[in-house]
């Protein structure tokens, strides 16, 4: 289950006129069990990076190594890697292709060689995990669903494969607030209880800060920041320079500090932040 992913000197160039260098000499180790938050301005190379990780595209130069093996040199192994490293695409309409939701969700498990009953169980489980009703949706065409519903189905399709590493490219885009919250809690639970490693791409700093154990920031194809959420989000000026921002909660805690209330600023959970503020207000008895 546990996989170590390594990138050695990886560059990727889109061959077109003029060529676009999307990634340049990336070196990176992703340790088993990590929850990586991958952030960066639009066009910084995030999607390109995760497509390299599960072998959808091959590096122009350098190596992608999974559990000690270069995935470029092992064609048979590649199929296995795509099963174990699940990728939910940035645009779900690029992922969906079957006529019904049921068949869409059956596709991956079928490829794993599972029998009919097991496939049915997996589909029900996956729909349940993302909070969509089996009877209501299983016969619908995925293409006639609303934007947010399509995204959830694409995610369920990957969950039904039970991958050891789950890569999500902007999974919150298009989800309503309840859907975002449910997905956030689901990812946290899967990470804590089932030992799945995660790579989460998102422009939403609120969710990234709450979930990630390590954050990588890309800028123009280079990794420019690498650290814990507390380290990354203590640099608001630096983040703004690269088109990013800090979570709203962090902004509030910084502003309170400036006003002389000595709250910690490395809290990314609303309840905990509220406790911290009350605590500091009591002990100072000012304001």
């Amino acid at each position: 289950m546990h996989m170590l992913i390594e990138l050695k000197n990886v560059s990727y160039i889109y061959e077109q006129e003029p060529p676009v260098t999307a990634l340049e000499k990336i070196n990176l180790n992703i340790e088993p069990g990590a929850f990586i938050g991958l952030i960066g301005h639009t066009g910084s190379g995030k999607t390109t990076l995760v497509q390299l990780l599960n072998g959808l595209i091959k590096p122009t130069s350098g190596q992608v190594i999974v559990d000690g093996k270069d995935i470029g040199e092992n064609k048979k192994g590649l199929k296995d890697i795509r099963r174990r490293i699940g990728l939910v695409f940035q645009y779900p309409e690029h992922q969906l292709f079957e006529e019904t939701v049921y068949r869409e969700l059956a596709f991956g498990p079928k490829n794993l060689g599972l029998d009919k009953d097991e496939i049915d169980i997996r589909i029900r489980e996956a729909l349940n995990l993302i909070g969509m009703d089996f009877d209501k949706y299983s016969d619908r065409s995925p293409f006639n669903l609303s934007g947010g519903q399509q995204r959830k189905i694409a995610l369920a399709g990957v969950l039904a494969m039970k991958p050891g590493v789950l890569i999500l490219d902007e999974p919150f885009a298009g989800l309503d607030p309840r859907g975002r919250k449910q997905l956030t809690e689901l990812l946290k639970r899967l990470h804590e209880q089932q030992n799945i490693s995660f790579i989460l791409i998102s422009h939403r700093m609120d969710e990234i800060s709450y979930l990630a154990t390590r954050i990588l920031a890309l800028k123009e194809g280079h990794i420019v920041l690498d650290g814990s959420p507390a380290e990354i989000f203590s640099q608001p000026e630096k983040l703004k320079e690269i088109a990013l921002d800090i979570p709203q909660l962090t902004e509030i805690l910084f502003r309170l500090q400036k006003k002389g209330l000595e709250v910690r600023s490395d809290i990314f959970d609303i309840e905990q932040a509220a406790d911290e503020i009350i605590d500091k207000l009591r002990s100072r008895n000012i304001c």
Partner: protein, 271 residues
């Protein structure tokens, strides 16, 4: 003047399916900036598609500047009045050069080329992209692409713009850029704006919000009092901005705070 009037509007995608919209009554005045929020599948995009006649209502009537969308002879005129911007600018940008992209819609309308030039220039200026006219759209950032998509719509000189989750794929800077361009257009050019979003922080910056649930409008009015009813918002699958959520958590723990919508307010109230 009323820009948009929906009278008892219903919409059903297929005869056996459920109603995507049920008995919608909505009037939007010229120059208003209206936000639409609602859970997944609540009918927001369907409503938007009725406004520029991508769909016709299966019940009731939609009037744009007084013109009925049911009447075939009105369709072209309505599409000139109402411009649509979608979530993903890549689906909207077709040409290899920014200025050609902005001109595309005008050429389709058969606008004379002397006029096209002028209108493209002006549209690019309005979104502050005049320096990028010779760029290829793929050389632009997401926020810049979304500006170009917006310029393509502005060149058509619509009196109303409908944006369906225009910032979902943008980085934080791009998100702020698009919001401020739209606000300027509304305030300075008096363009009517209908802004669909799942980001409550964005919705809280509009004049008036429409809250949808299961095909119906369930709340309408100024953002602050609507967001103050957190229990209701949660019940229909929505939320409130993080700052409001924190304020509520603090209140539950005994701090005396009013309804709060922005960071400045909260900081002032605590310290």
């Amino acid at each position: 003047m009323n820009q948009i009037e929906m009278k008892h509007v219903g919409y059903q995608y297929n005869k056996t399916g459920e109603q995507a919209l049920i008995d919608i009554d909505l009037t939007i005045r010229s120059g208003e900036f209206v936000g639409i929020v609602g859970s997944n599948g609540s009918g927001k995009s369907t409503l938007a598609r009725l406004l520029n006649v991508l769909l016709e209502p299966t019940e009731g009537q939609v009037l744009i500047g007084g013109l009925d969308t049911h009447k075939r002879e009105n369709v072209q005129q309505i599409r000139q009045k109402v411009g649509m911007v979608f979530q993903n600018p890549d689906n909207q940008l077709v040409a290899t050069k920014v200025e050609d992209d902005v001109a595309f819609g005008l050429e389709n309308l058969g606008v004379p080329s002397s006029q096209i030039r002028r209108r493209v220039d002006r549209a690019l200026e309005q979104v502050d992209m005049q320096d990028y006219r010779d760029f290829s759209p793929h050389q632009l950032s997401g926020g810049q692409k979304q500006r170009v998509a917006l310029a393509g719509i502005l060149a058509m000189e619509p009196s109303c713009i409908v944006l369906d989750e225009p910032t979902a794929m943008l980085d934080p800077r791009g998100r702020k850029e698009v919001m401020s361009v739209v606000q300027d257009l509304n305030q300075q050019k008096n363009i009517t704006v209908v802004y669909i979003t799942h980001v409550m922080r964005e919705a809280s910056r509009t004049d008036r919000i429409i809250v949808m649930s299961e095909g119906k409008i369930v709340r309408r009015g100024q953002p602050a009092p609507i967001f103050a009813d957190i229990d209701f918002m949660n019940k229909i699958g929505l939320s409130v901005p993080p700052v409001t959520e924190l304020a509520v958590a603090l209140r539950k723990k005994g701090l005396n705070l009013p309804d709060i919508m922005d960071v400045d307010e909260l900081v002032k109230c605590i310290c």
